[in-house]
Assembly symmetry: C2
Homo-oligomer: 329 residues x 2
Amino acid sequence: MRLAETPCENPRFFAHGIKQMPARIIDGKAIAQQIRDDLAARIAAVREGLGRSPHLAIAIVGDDPASHVYVRNKLRTAEDSGMGVTLETLPGDSTLDETLAVVERFNMSAQIDGILVQSPLPAGMGRNAAQRVFDTIDPGKDVDGFSPISAGHLSQKRSGFAPCTPAGIIEMLDRERLAIEGARAVVIGRSDIVGKPMAMLLMHRNATVTVCHSRTRDLPGVAREADILVAAIGRAGLVTQDFVKPGAVVIDVGMNRVTDADEARQLLASQPKRLKLFERRGSVLVGDVHPNVAETAGALTPVPGGVGPLTIAMLMANTVRAAELRLSG
Amino acid sequence: MRLAETPCENPRFFAHGIKQMPARIIDGKAIAQQIRDDLAARIAAVREGLGRSPHLAIAIVGDDPASHVYVRNKLRTAEDSGMGVTLETLPGDSTLDETLAVVERFNMSAQIDGILVQSPLPAGMGRNAAQRVFDTIDPGKDVDGFSPISAGHLSQKRSGFAPCTPAGIIEMLDRERLAIEGARAVVIGRSDIVGKPMAMLLMHRNATVTVCHSRTRDLPGVAREADILVAAIGRAGLVTQDFVKPGAVVIDVGMNRVTDADEARQLLASQPKRLKLFERRGSVLVGDVHPNVAETAGALTPVPGGVGPLTIAMLMANTVRAAELRLSG
């Protein structure tokens, strides 16, 4: 780990009983803004070359309120970045074929660079609906990076679209000058959209990567080997201080809605403002990392305001790149 | 690790100074024969259903003697298994387009179930020639599992063809009743054809997997965490006893031709027969694992006669499965 910039961030000092400084809290919003600022010139170049802005098309099926919030955030960010957007809303009782027909139409359109079908699809579409959708999206427009061909290109370190959350985490580590090469990285969670592509990207950047999951024995012990610890399991506050090597970089991908008052109090004991928010609203969003990990980690992403904004920024970056590929190819 | 079957294989006993038994040497040839025996009924069923045997087509470009030996082994094994084979030999100065034309012809043929283009292709074809070939092979006939879509399906744990060497190692662990679930596995090497798919397959079987490579710090220390250690780096005898936790399962994927007499003597000190072979022939095949690891490991695959035969057996299994898919679909 080469992140120690002050003596207090250096694990050596803990051993000598010097009181530890709390972790640097990484400002995901600010980094996302930097990423989007850096896209402005590229968006202008696309506009110059194609005679139109990079264009993101989103399809959403059904009324899930959280999904609609996510989609709205993505569309608003795209518009704020000067990109074109299309939204296709299908009723919740739409068939898979109707959904695939929208994807095919997006595939065919020369006006659309990036395609995203918001997950989850209604359960009524069947277990393999998402896979069928990802199989159908034109790989050149697969800005979510969920298609098997995108996963294959990622695994083979070929150019293609990496899923936005892990790609955003790499971008964040780089912009925060947190060294990846040679680090030991531990990824908790092995999903197709975060855990596995995260491991791939870290490995391609020369980290030594371990992937943990529900069947891992001594999870805290394995996690403690990490210089970079990525938590993507979807369990509020699962990662406690005993999971964290002093001074490690801890990335919290979790977004868990907590509605139980005891749980909220336990998790937010050190965050009176957020606890008050809970008491007013009856629910609060909490990551996979217990907030008191800030006392052990060297750097930590907060929830909210950490990885979330980066994910959306990378969706923009992927869409711009898709437009650039259209321009060059 | 739940492989301890005798007290002498149990790491506990080493600590008390009891002399360790040498590792169980895993007989890859015998396991490969079992796998092929188990295919016989399935081959007969294909013959019944399709009116012909499962059929493997191989293309080879150029005169590389080692490649021709490999191809001959594959074809002979296929024929011995009662399968049909086609061999297309292209001269070393063939163009990539000529090679792709052969692949396209194999793709179109309803008589061919599995396609393999022997690596390496002549350097004159350009750096991306192999990728272009893998991109062209029909995913339903990609029995080597090297296409991006096969890599993507593997990553996403969907049905498809896994590369033969890592698939053969999983088959071997299962047939030797060496537990994968919950084990810590360390894979040294991150190639597309062994390291990465090996990590994926072990993870999907609920091992906690770490991938090491040239940039890993303290490689012996990380390797020593492994209950299952897979060496796939292509460096003769790199993995020495200090890499191995007592009692661990060590899988040697290396196949390195050693021609230096001092190196041969150092590596084969405990294997006088093989050293004599070297002295007669001037060269010898050695794995990535130093033979004296047998004194530390609980189980070890030899080179030759370990992983090699399993790779070919899995090529047969993949080809039979391709034929079965044709039959059912």
